[in-house]
């Protein structure tokens, strides 16, 4: 009995591990923008970023993952990773792709992380903070 269970765990672990490596699952832990287009849905965004003003100073994660706590960064990456895999596998999602509310907040905070010295004089309403990307929607990647 025990040997069967161990065998099954090994088998499933083997298939799962192969799938993980085949899908380059490990690459998402790192920071390389080329890994974000492993699944080619964001080719357009990637191509546009490569020609954008921010290419020199920021990679995908600088704007789309939190800066404040490493744990939060991993959490956001895991959450997006799961959602993206699910959508890509089922094929059911809106095109052109749209940012979620949660990720938009992450990005808004990322803008301020680098640009706070410039914007802190205009960004003082706690109730209704200004949205950077309302006007600067093209800085990261204009598709």
């Amino acid at each position: 009995m025990r040997i069967i269970v161990v065998l099954l765990i090994g088998l499933i672990g083997g298939i799962g591990g192969y799938t993980f490596i085949y899908a380059r699952g490990y690459s998402y832990i790192f920071n390389d923008p080329a890994e974000c287009v492993n699944c080619h849905i964001m080719n357009k965004e990637f191509d546009a970023w490569a020609k954008s003003s921010h290419k020199a100073v920021a990679v995908c994660n600088d704007c789309h993952a939190p800066h404040h706590a490493p744990v939060e960064k991993l959490f956001v990456k895991a959450r997006n990773g799961f959602n993206h895999s699910l959508k890509f596998t089922t094929g059911k999602f809106h095109e052109p792709i749209q940012i979620t509310e949660h990720n938009r907040r992450v990005t808004e905070r990322a803008c301020r992380y680098c640009h706070q010295d410039i914007v802190n004089q205009i960004d003082h309403s706690q109730k209704e903070p200004l949205s950077c990307i309302r006007c600067h929607s093209n800085v990261g990647h204009s598709t």
């Binding site: 799938t19 899908a23 699944c39 080619h40 052109p96």
Partner: protein, 462 residues
């Protein structure tokens, strides 16, 4: 371990063994399914183009092109769809086929919906039959069987209602322009025997490179004349146009204001002084051209024809460098490939791909913005048609009261202008959207012409 424990284990084992097996089955099944799905997606990313057939500059049949480009061909075939938007598109209306017209489905008649159009076109074939347009797939068939064929039509019409590139070349023994001249001369019924497809791949694409290419003689000449008016001499569209220009020019081959000139019914686009309605009228006036004589008033009339390319050129999208294809054939993702959607249709039926690439706004809001423009254009257009019909009534009354041609000359000229201007917006297929301010201006001019015409009859007998 006691012997009792062992017995209990043995007793439980078939059930738990089964559960473990089922659990393992589900997990392994799911993992392999996922693995295959990932493999499928990786395959998509590999270059998926396979050349199955050899295409030449004489391959007319789109089905053959479709073997090399199945995605584009599938989408192209979807232009048979009949879907309405608020102000356009087609709604399938069943009819009983007869000997003259085998169509079992047509679209709604515009002249029945708005009888003012019949007054505007009195004495011209458009007063006989004028319907809502359908998709590209129907362009040939709908022309062959329109009620306007009651008046004999020239072969010129086929320039834009059939795939004529190969037939023109054949008729001209390899010379496109010679074939064009030859078909223009022929009666429609004879010329139509030489064509076999509605617009096809070869009308816009080079068979070897797939680059966009202009094949319509009237556009080659028209755009050369227009560029000359801007100071660019000898513009050769297939050599000198940019890629983004071509993404509008291929559509502008046909979606334009045009006229048939001379006894040979030569197709000419009126772009000698610009692409505006004013430039078109100035050209027609300069050569004393008329399409027909108005049945009620005797005025020398002009018929405006679907000037989509002309009007779009006056709008904000054109100024921003947005091409026809950007909205009417937006890029779509097929697997890892980006292709242009060959299901040519109203962007209002495809808002996400057509508009949201640039406008990051909800679909509902984008449709509302477009319809706001169209509602206003429609309102102004009805006002302009009413003003025109008022003028026709006034001229009729003066004729009955015995007014001379001299007394009527001004009013007739204003009727010609007012009619051409309102018709320009009516015939244009965006209900003002392609250039909203320009459409409003044209309609305002039309209303003004009609009222000036009425005023010019003040001293004429009534």
């Amino acid at each position: 371990m006691s012997s009792q424990d062992k017995a209990t284990r043995r007793g439980r084992s078939p059930l738990s063994l089964g559960l473990v097996a089922v659990g393992a089955f589900i997990v392994a099944f799911g993992l392999v399914a996922l693995l295959m799905n990932i493999r499928g997606h990786k395959q998509e990313a590999a270059n998926p183009f396979f050349r199955v057939v050899e295409l030449t500059d004489d391959t007319e049949d789109p089905e053959i092109w479709g073997k090399n480009f199945p995605q584009q061909y599938d989408a192209y075939k979807k232009t048979v769809d009949m879907v309405r938007t608020r102000y356009g598109g087609s709604e399938a209306i069943p009819r009983v086929p007869d000997a003259k017209d085998p169509r079992a489905v047509v679209t709604q008649s515009k002249i029945e919906i708005n009888p003012n159009l019949k007054r505007m076109w009195a004495g011209y074939s458009f007063a006989l039959d004028f319907r809502e347009e359908r998709g590209h797939a129907y362009m040939l068939q709908d022309q062959m069987f329109t009620g306007r064929q009651a008046v004999p039509q020239p072969g010129t019409c086929l320039h834009c209602h059939a795939s004529v590139y190969v037939p023109y070349k054949k008729a001209g023994d390899g010379d496109l322009f010679a074939g064009f001249e030859k078909l223009n001369h022929m009666p429609y019924a004879e010329a139509v025997k030489l064509v076999s497809h509605p617009v096809s791949c070869i009308d816009c694409h080079d068979s070897q490179t797939m680059q966009l290419r202009i094949t319509r003689p009237a556009f080659i000449e028209g755009i050369r004349n227009y560029k000359a008016s801007l100071g660019v001499a000898n513009f050769d569209v297939n050599k000198d146009a940019t890629r983004q220009e071509m993404r509008s020019y291929v559509c502008g081959q046909c979606h334009v204001e045009y006229s048939f000139q001379g006894p040979e019914k030569r197709l000419v686009y009126p772009w000698f002084k610009g692409l505006t309605v004013d430039a078109a009228l100035a050209f027609y006036d300069s050569i004393g051209f008329k399409d027909w004589k108005h049945a009620e008033t005797g005025a020398p009339m002009l018929k405006a024809q679907h000037p989509e390319f002309d009007l779009w050129n006056q709008g904000t999208h054109a100024r921003a460098g947005v091409a026809c294809a950007d909205c009417h054939m937006p890029y779509v993702r097929v697997g890892a490939q980006k292709i242009s959607d060959h299901h040519v249709r109203s962007p209002l039926l495809n808002v996400a791909a057509a508009c949201q690439t640039c406008h990051r706004v909800e679909e509902k809001e984008l449709v509302a913005r477009a319809e706001r423009i169209q509602n206003k254009t429609e309102h102004l257009e009805n006002m302009a048609l009413t003003a025109l019909v008022d003028l026709i009534d006034e001229i009729d009354a003066s004729i009955k009261a015995g007014a001379t041609d001299e007394q009527l000359a001004k009013a007739r000229d204003f009727q010609r202008k007012a009619s051409f201007y309102v018709d320009y917006v009516e015939a244009e297929n965006s209900t003002g959207f392609h250039a909203d301010q320009e459409s409003a201006r044209i309609l305002a001019e039309s209303i003004n012409f009609s009222r000036l015409g009425t005023i010019s009859l003040r001293n004429a007998p009534k």
